[in-house]
Amino acid sequence: MRLAEAWRVALDALRANRLRSILTMLGVVIGVAAVVALVGIGTGTKQQIEQQVEGLGSNLLIVVPGRLEAGSAPSVSTLSLDDVDAVSRIVGDRSRVAVTVASGETVRAGNRSTFASMQGVLETTPTVFVRHLDRGSYLTRSDVNTARRVAVLGAGSAAQLFGDRDPIGRQITVGGVRFRVIGTFEPLGQSLGVDRDSEVHIPVTAAQRLLGTDRIDALAIRAPDRDRIDALGADIVETLSERHPDTDFSAVTQQQILGVLGDILGVLTGVLAAIAGISLLVGGVGVSNIMLVSVRERTKEIGLRKAVGARPRDIGLQFLLEAVLLTTIGGVLGMALGVTAALLVDRLTPVPAAITWWSLALAFGVSAAVGIIFGVVPAQRAGRLDPVVALRTE
């Protein structure tokens, strides 16, 4: 029998049992759609976070206490503002060094209140992290030196507290202490479901006073020379280690953050794909099951085809192609459904999704392979049927 003929026979058989074919396909459709949609969401999330990290610039260096290794306990910071001066001397430019001491605080304005990430910072933050103001102005060096109670609001916090009103010059309280709003940030959006616009920047000195500490959490440096960023990081870590003999320090570049995040999100995507893959596997078992039923149901037909000259492999091929058709048609429908679902999620929810060609190719390849793998056993069974027994079956 010619191959083209075998395809036609298989297609005819599927058409003859339309409802059953569709229901069988449904398992594969859902499985493939789940793989495509979840991989799309995983990929989209990964891309978004990578873009955000890349937006920081490739010459950003972040210095934190503790070792940046899997399994190491988080360290309590021993850094203080004195260390900032030492680091600034190494970098050679104080405007390239930013600090943060962070705490979650309730922020109030009049009878409205919101929960925000309070960041104690230097006046250098917009330069180092490339942040743009929507209104007003940022903190000044004198604000920091005098621990002046002035604040810059993230777009989300500003909206929460003031709605459409202009917040500049108005009073807020952060952790019960009164501050005056002098500026607001442009919106940043969300990442991993966290609203990055719920923040309040105040002078680091004021924050330390509010929190009753003289520590800072971390340093960030915008290196003047991208090529020497690793050497600069090593110098800073060495200096800090001399000043704090009991503490380890780590300098992390954007490249390293991207690597670590990429690994984590890659695993996340893989796990999502694997979970979705299980449903595809279940769909494949469904195909196998239906094909076995189909072989039994069409035993008489198989017997007749053999009587008129079908070889075992002709019959086997017919059933194998049926299984492959079921899963590949299901695969294509599943891809369409998965892409649609991913795009809807991307459009209608804060969760990003991105469709990649490799995930579509993989889904299609896997569904065709599922058809072959799960079609082989029923096909062999059909091919080996004894025509005498098959013809006698009623």
Binding site: M1, A16, R305, A307, G309, V388, L391
Partner: protein, 310 residues
């Protein structure tokens, strides 16, 4: 057609293993089906005639003895080669027709050509030709459920013929048909036989068997009587009770005629058999949708109603 016998079976045995017990279905059967033969294999249920049929058709292999189909010893053939041999040499006609339900008459007839690797256009042309030959040119695009029993069996005969086989194996071809329709199917087989195709009929119906040129009687896996004509020992299985019950078409004719049919057709049968083996009146009687045609005017309208109602 080169004079070689179509099928030669020599001391063929076939033993089935059922739950570890050996059940001999054939215990040494020798038989030659010559070119153009018209042979009836008769016997009661369990006599081994169906097993013999499957062996002669290359659907099964003997446990012992030699079986040569179309000049080839089936013991030396792989399953694929045997399938090819069936395709080229044998045409099967079954009691229950075995037509593909969702497939038109034309595509049913074309089915064996699919396995010969013949293109769709030529298959359809040859199938149409065969359907014309069995008098169903007007039913070409009908599906089996739109055809009467007799029409279905003629589609099956067209399918058996389409590959140009040297032997037609018909297993109770009239078993699911009323007697009038059954006779028209037999008449068709006989006209094909007259054109040179060997016909082997397996039946337990004496009327059917008597129309063949020779009969083989089987009992307990052996050929007990190769002599033509009815034998006293076999009279009992051919009581009128063994004639198939009224089919859906027969109900139209009323109970009186149906009860008559068992015995009533026997006297007129001699002439029917004689005309069937000759080529003369057969083409007239094949398209039995025409009332009043053929040599049996009394049964003509009945045949038409029987065919049409199925």
């Amino acid at each position: 057609m080169n004079g070689i016998p179509a099928i030669v079976a020599t001391d063929v045995t076939r033993t089935y293993q059922l739950d570890g017990v050996s059940v001999p279905a054939l215990r040494g059967v020798s038989l030659t089906v010559a070119e153009g033969d018209y042979l009836a294999v008769v016997g009661t249920s369990g006599s081994g005639k169906s097993t013999l049929m499957h062996l002669l058709g290359g659907l099964d292999r003997p446990t012992g003895g030699t079986l040569v189909i179309g000049g080839r010893d089936v013991a030396t053939l792989s399953p694929s080669e045997l399938a090819r041999l069936r395709n080229e040499t044998i045409g099967f006609v079954f009691q229950s027709f075995h037509l593909l339900a969702r497939t038109t008459a034309r595509d049913n007839v074309a089915l064996p050509l699919v396995y010969r690797g013949i293109g769709r256009r030529e298959r359809r042309a040859r199938a149409a030709e065969m359907l014309d030959r069995v008098g169903l040119a007007h039913r070409i695009d009908h599906r089996p459920n739109q055809l009467s029993g007799g029409e279905q069996q003629r589609v099956a005969i067209a399918r058996a013929l389409v590959t140009g086989p040297s032997v037609l194996l018909a297993d109770e071809p009239t078993g699911n048909l009323d007697s009038v329709t059954g006779r028209s199917v037999l008449t068709l087989l006989e006209s094909l036989n007259a054109d040179g195709v060997a016909v082997v009929l397996v039946t337990h119906d004496r009327e059917v068997a008597e129309r063949a040129h020779r009969q083989i009687v089987m009992r307990d896996g052996l050929i007990v009587d190769p002599a033509p004509g009815p034998t006293p020992g076999l009279a009992s299985p051919f009581s009128s009770g063994s004639v198939p019950g009224p089919g859906p078409g027969e109900s139209d004719r009323g109970p009186g005629l149906a009860s008559d049919s068992g015995a009533g057709f026997v006297p007129g049968f001699g002439s029917g058999s004689g005309s069937g083996s000759g080529a003369g009146p057969v083409p007239d009687s094949v398209p039995d949708a025409k009332p009043g045609s053929g040599p049996r005017p009394a049964s003509g309208p009945a045949a038409a109603s029987g065919e049409g109602a199925g």
